[in-house]
Subunit: 352 residues, 4 copies
């Protein structure tokens, strides 16, 4: 089979280099172009600084940076873009690419709240891919976003008990520094410190969560209405976002019911078996001091899905209250891996 040519945008950054790692020997997509800021054009990937271990895979070391120009990408027959660009740059570049027939899978926040752009988490809302067809009617290409990294961890963890009639959530996050990209936080700011504020993060978590669980009506997503209260807080870890979750239900339940929902949860058929899809997307631990980033940040089988599963621990249930802690890999499931899975889904559903 001929693979599909793709470009990685922002290949000097943390998310971009994760795209490269995840696309090594990918069965469907072949990285044939890379872009970053125009100053890099003409340089080889191998001349760049590795910002994540393994972020400059041997296989791609000789790729040469192109300018961020859709015509050039088109001339190289690039059909798919994986975008790890910063939000301010991403907006126009991605729109332009979609207009020119390229399918864009983006980690940037710029288009997430656009009416016809879905925030895809295949296990949750594969049905929202319908919006991509609508986009394509307008502009040949399309933009599909993965969610913000914290939103991803939260929404994945809600997946097994989405039918429990959640009325209200109070969440507090323990977010790793890699969520801020590279160079991100100065060590002097965060070493041995906790920073109780991340610019624009709390509103993102609230509105993206509603959209992700929304339903499509007349080509638009009607967000699910939930009361969400979030504190998004930075802690001195490198990878892995933990979230303390407190849910209030409309109605009562018990521990065994909720534990059973998590244990028995299986991904929908649309997703099962995709190369980067975890066999069990939501894992469960009853070890009292887990999950922990040190041990649990790379969970997921098969090998290609490492970091794609989230894990729930410390489950407590008391009538209408469900409490737990969840952990997800903010760079894999919460960023590059999310978009790769979205592209695999789109390919299976023949949108690519």
């Amino acid at each position: 089979m001929n693979k599909i040519n793709c470009a990685v945008l922002g290949a000097t950054g943390v998310v971009g280099q994760h795209f490269l790692k995840l696309l090594v020997a990918h069965p469907t997509f072949e990285v044939t172009a890379i872009c970053a800021s125009d100053a890099r054009a003409g340089k080889k990937l191998s001349e760049m600084k590795e910002v994540v271990p393994g972020g400059i895979p041997q296989e791609f070391a000789d790729l040469v940076f192109d300018p961020m120009d859709v015509d050039i990408l088109a001339s190289k027959n690039v059909q798919v873009i994986f975008s790890g660009l910063p939000a301010d740059v991403a907006r126009d570049v991605e729109s332009n690419a979609a207009q020119n027939g390229i399918k864009v899978f983006s980690n940037a926040g710029s288009h997430r709240m656009d009416a016809d752009v879905p925030i895809l988490i295949p296990e949750i809302n594969h049905y929202q891919i319908e919006l991509l067809r609508i986009q394509q009617q307008k502009k040949q290409g399309f933009i599909a976003c993965n969610a913000n990294c914290t939103t991803t961890g939260l929404t994945m963890a809600l997946l097994p008990f989405i039918d429990l009639n959640i009325k209200r959530m109070v969440v507090a996050s323990y977010q790793a520094v890699s969520g801020a990209g590279y160079p991100g936080l100065p060590v002097m700011d965060i070493s041995n410190n906790v920073i109780p504020y991340i610019n624009n993060e709390e509103p993102k978590v609230c509105r993206e969560t509603g959209k992700i669980f929304g339903h499509v009506e007349n080509g638009t997503i009607i967000p699910r209405e939930w009361e969400i209260f979030a504190h998004c807080i930075r802690v001195p870890t490198i990878v892995g976002h933990m979230i303390s979750v407190h849910l209030e239900l409309d109605g009562s339940t018990d521990y065994d019911t909720v534990a059973g929902l998590i244990r028995n949860y299986l991904p929908p058929a649309e997703v099962a078996g995709l190369p980067t899809a975890p066999e069990k997307p939501v894992l469960f631990t009853e070890q009292q001091d887990r999950p922990q980033p040190r041990y649990d940040v790379d969970l997921g089988t098969p090998e290609r899905a490492k970091g794609m599963a989230v894990i729930i621990g410390r489950l407590e249930v008391n009538k209408n209250i469900v409490r737990f802690v969840t952990l997800s890999n903010n760079l894999v499931r919460g960023a590059a891996g999310g978009s790769v899975l979205n592209a695999e889904l789109a390919y299976r559903l023949k949108l690519i």
Copy 2:
């Protein structure tokens, strides 16, 4: 004036060494004896390992460890004990000392829930000191506890708006490793990690908070009834416990009202002017990314009260919901400093 002889128990530990730091040149108390495990008896303080910077003050370097024996302490005319012992050791030692007429100010958890032992935070419940008189009638001496370090930070932060009819709290903590004492956590466990469990911490926060705000009836404390949901979580910082706090009120309020309550809060007359009492026990910041342990863990004036004030930031108010983040020094306000202030209060009220 003659100072009152006191002993520091557990002087090889983190809390013990903080007692020593805080008692240098104290106007009322004079450290004349130190104890630790019996194996130390006969050794000089200066031979010990410093476990906190400045934890072996020059002034006390030549003190010699006594065995943990109340008769010996009595023979040295020790009237007051500051106990930084681990809970399992503290139980009997402290009971025994109180029985023998010594006034015990303890950071250990062993006696906190005893019916006639108050968990004192002078700004909140100086009136509970009444229990000490009751104890004294029974056994000459008494035991007064400071609260668990996380409880202390939470309850101090609630102080300005205690009349707001709080119905329910959802809290998640970001606790520094020094809360676990010395040697405490292995670096391999916590470096670049988050541990979502601290043994017995969540029940302590719930029941101590109720007792602290309780009222005294027939010589016993009737705890205040609140619904409290707590996740107590360890993060890789050294000093300073942050807490994300979500309050549900019975009734509505607004930002200006709550901010005003914090800004205008003043300590009660019983406490004002005590040597270790902070002039403003609850500080308020509207800087969007504060408080932070790196900058705010030693707040409090005058000099002797550094680390005795807590600080509230990120205040949000929406009808019946009040949300904020608070930070306190777990070793000073939440441990040694708390007990020193308790002793100062007891002295002012002529219980010593």
Copy 3:
């Protein structure tokens, strides 16, 4: 082929759990028994605390701890022991096992300086395996040690230019905390700190280095005579020992010569192709800010040899002075992986 039954001693520790990781699906050795302190006897591996990520491999999770008793191991037909025991325990257990015909491959320091025990680093001194035959004549089994983790990194790095007539070395190490095992250092001691002393480490580096490069004469090793000055210093990293190395030669050389020696170095035939042997044991970088633990601590091909190669960077040569920085994985090459490679060598040379 039938695999050889082996036991891992100290399977609750950092080195023990690395043995387990490295022996998953090993072509020659099969872990059929595990031991730790006797208090563990009867418990399953899966009940233990994971102290390194992946340290309790699924494959071995159901193994049950045996008491540390050679008769029991013998009754289970254990022929080979991999010992990750602490030195004080290791001395007698290992002697006893060897006396009873078991081949012991040990990471403990207890027997390293015994006259008939080699400190094996196969690429350097595979010829010292001769001592094992001598031991076997005396007691059926034998003890073979891997070197101290810092010594290993240093001596591996010297390997390419061992013929340069090194006269004197001045070295300063940057050692990760995992070198102290588990629980090892309290986080309060080492977080944001540097500790310029590691008990007994500097003498070990000096005397082991001499023995490793020594020659065998009449069944004893005559150590190579070198002047070595070492500062062994702990820094707050988890894995990876870096060493600043300053060599004084007897005679002059130049950069290209030394760089060529490193680039062209190949392992001896005795070692090449062993399952855990790295194809290139000594790697070389001319990137000015490398090696770094974050990026380079797991170097080595093939997959099974990850962490078995060392890397040299910042090479400077000026007449008789050769200076560089080297990095090695203290848990793999410098501990468990070293002993696994030793066992593979012994098996190839028919000592097992």
Copy 4:
């Protein structure tokens, strides 16, 4: 007495904010102006981000940033500048100020190797202040530099045994991240990592050390000739540069002699009693695991001299070899405090 008006340049940075801390209530100098990049002009200090705890002292919070314009500073009667500017900006600004009669005390590296600019460490080379007179003849004002932070720690530690005929030094540093200023290193680069390269640092250490110990001849400094081999290496600590030092002497000595030299060392009369001068500039510890940044980075008496003393530990002497470890505060002695002390010396010697 009227204090001397001074300006702090670079007051938004780590060194600038240390200047501010050290100049609170200074007996001689009064901060009456602050500058940073021109974009700050018109803003108040209190609007800036604190980059070191206490870096925006209450006393100066209302100061308003001036543009970096010598005429404006002159119009405000500023006589002395303390410069914490980055090197690229510092060159012209400082030259210009000196030409206009202002006395510049600079932490920047730009002018350190200028022929008529001394690198002053008062305890070592107060006599080099002679160069300031020469500069003044040419341009009314002058520039006096403090040394690079690593050089400062090394040269201070050499002070007690400068007469031992040191022939050669091999040093390896353990440098804290604050040495790189703010924002300095991204946390993703240095957390749990060691970086064996600091741009231009090793040449600085070599050439500055020679100049500092040089003698003045015909208005120029003739550097002392030493062989110095330095590895400058970044470790994940915030404050405090440790150095492993290996000295080769011309001639033999012994432990007691060298220890005696350190213990008995006293600062020269020219320096003793200056407000920021430490009573004992070089401290000595025989505790085997000290010095450590956690405990020893703020040494120095009186209070105003905290962080101005260096400390030597792990002393070993063997004939012509002297080895030790030393620690200094890179932000106080190695930066802002160094320049404040230089200004105090110049004031005492009537150059201001």
